[in-house]
Symmetry: C2
Subunit: 331 residues, 2 copies
């Protein structure tokens, strides 16, 4: 199916692009009605379905000099899978709305589909792309909607944490932000443009940080395990542990008291770095934490502040507000 | 909640934007878990769920001089509701990924949410926005995912039409394209830029065409009725009747033989105009067509051509392939 030279999507049109994407996805659908009709039909034996949506936009969310098609497909899947996992659910389907400039190369689209499929296979086996939409845009945009199943379990909301619960975290904290800092510090031209990263010249630590940023591996399967272990509250840590912990505390009407020593060698980085898509959860004190979760603190009665670190209110930033924080020039 | 002057989304940040959107949507959620957590949870008593996604992008899909926020919210909802209806399903939830330039006005966002809600209330009562995502982008992009229920019925695919079936259509054919032609012909500046439409100077016919383009009213409830009446195949006519009829014929392995006289005063316009989101369906010959459907032809054994009009093969264009057809300069 390869052309020489690699055509653009504007040269080949929608039907051909779809054929190429379907070729990459072939055999993965688990749906009653998969891609190709007006809509997909999924079996939901449990009688409840979990749905979320999250978008990656060229500029604020990624740069093509830093992320290839496979990286983007992977990340677009991973960030949505994490939101399903954070409800205690099992992801089963992705729907992908892809808006691309006409000069996008076909190989890029194929790589993107490959990355979507690879992330599902690695992080949420049984989950597949079951539908989507193609359109043209000046700005490359990947809007993914993920669907999950509860398999008889109860959804775990942000609002159920109770005083006395253990606060636990699964996954990275601060690594993805370290990767982003590395990119901004070392892989931009003098006028601020993103430039390609020579992977073979990175240290193992730098490679790990870059992978956390470009191809995050949230602990998807631990979402269901946390629910089964009795988690009272859970959320995906996308905007930094500090900000998201304050959100969980506010939703539950409690205070989260964290221990800096439990946050690794650089607690500030762990508290303030976003995009790791770790799972932050509260468990009853008697619960056995599923392997992969580590205790980082305790839930307290609501006090004057939703988040304490080593007993002191923590107001440090966290989070990335795209409307406030994106500066087109610096990226 | 109104500011003076109207702030931009870049000035107020994500939490405030969300508060304003939630205020517009208040009371509409029907979900077990509605907007505000990592994901929504919907009840699916039937054990199957129908999912589709469709995107509107500034430039190829709309111009802000022609479409206000309410128009865009309405249309983004309507085109997705139509895909759910085309499966014979009842829409119950929308998920809206909104990527906006930082200089977008808050009133625009509020209007967009109002339009989403109004389209649900008018076209699919009981359907509501149950989640979404906000991000920043140079290109205003509205990616909607719709979820529907089958309520015990069977999904109606494109592939089930059988020779002898009646071909029927519900909804407009050619009106939305007439509206687009009107906009391009009369409401652009000499250098091709879209300019505002003085509604009070339009004829009733022009107003109807413009409404069909900007605020389509697909016959959503007829999707479920068609399924109940035994429709063997159905699809949403978004790319023009001719192209979509050929698609249904190909999926079903049949020929569709249409009668030009059944297509109104301008059959070519009806066959080639896109964006009406009518429902094209096939019914067994003995079925009583639900009120709102009109017979436009008959399904035949597959012949040399998937589509005949008055007995002759019809190859006329239909459809809008964004990758091939969008010319940024002309719109």
């Amino acid at each position: 199916m390869t052309d020489a030279p690699d055509p653009t999507v504007g040269e080949i049109g929608e039907s051909r692009i779809l054929r190429e994407i379907f070729a990459v996805l072939a055999g993965s659908s688990q749906a009653l009605v998969g891609p190709g009709d007006d809509a997909a039909v999924l079996a939901v034996p449990d009688g409840r379905v979990v749905v979320t949506t999250d978008t990656l936009v060229h500029g604020p969310d990624f740069r093509l000099a830093w992320s290839g098609g496979e990286d983007l497909g992977w990340k677009a899947a991973a960030v949505n899978l994490a939101d399903i996992a954070a409800m205690g659910a099992r992801p089963v389907a992705l729907f992908v709305a892809l808006a691309m400039p006409a000069d996008t190369r076909l190989t890029f689209v194929r790589d993107l589909a490959t990355g979507l499929r690879a992330a599902c296979d690695a992080l949420a086996p049984g989950c597949a792309v079951e539908g989507g939409d193609l359109t043209i845009s000046d700005t490359l945009t990947i809007a993914v909607t993920a669907v999950g199943m509860l398999d008889g379990g109860e959804p775990v909301r942000r609002s159920g944490a109770r005083p006395g619960d253990t606060v636990a975290l699964a996954g990275e904290a601060g690594m993805a932000a370290a990767g982003l800092r590395l990119l901004f510090a070392r892989f931009r031209s003098t006028d601020g443009e993103a430039i390609a990263v020579p992977r073979n010249r990175l240290t193992p630590q730098e490679t790990a940080a870059l992978d956390a940023q470009l191809r995050p591996r949230p602990p998807i399967a631990l979402g269901v395990q946390a629910a089964a272990a009795g988690a009272t509250a859970m959320m995906d840590v996308s905007d930094g542990l500090a900000l998201d912990a304050r959100r969980l505390a506010a939703a539950s009407g409690v205070t989260l008291a964290l221990s800096a020593a439990a946050l690794g060698g650089d607690p500030i980085a762990a508290l303030e770095g976003g995009e790791d898509h770790a799972l932050l959860a509260a468990f009853p004190p008697e619960a056995a934490l599923p392997e992969g979760f580590r205790s980082i603190g305790v839930v307290q009665q609501p006090g004057g502040h939703p988040l304490l670190v080593d007993g002191a209110p923590y107001d440090g930033p966290g989070g990335w507000d795209p409307y406030r924080d994106w500066d087109r020039r610096s990226g």
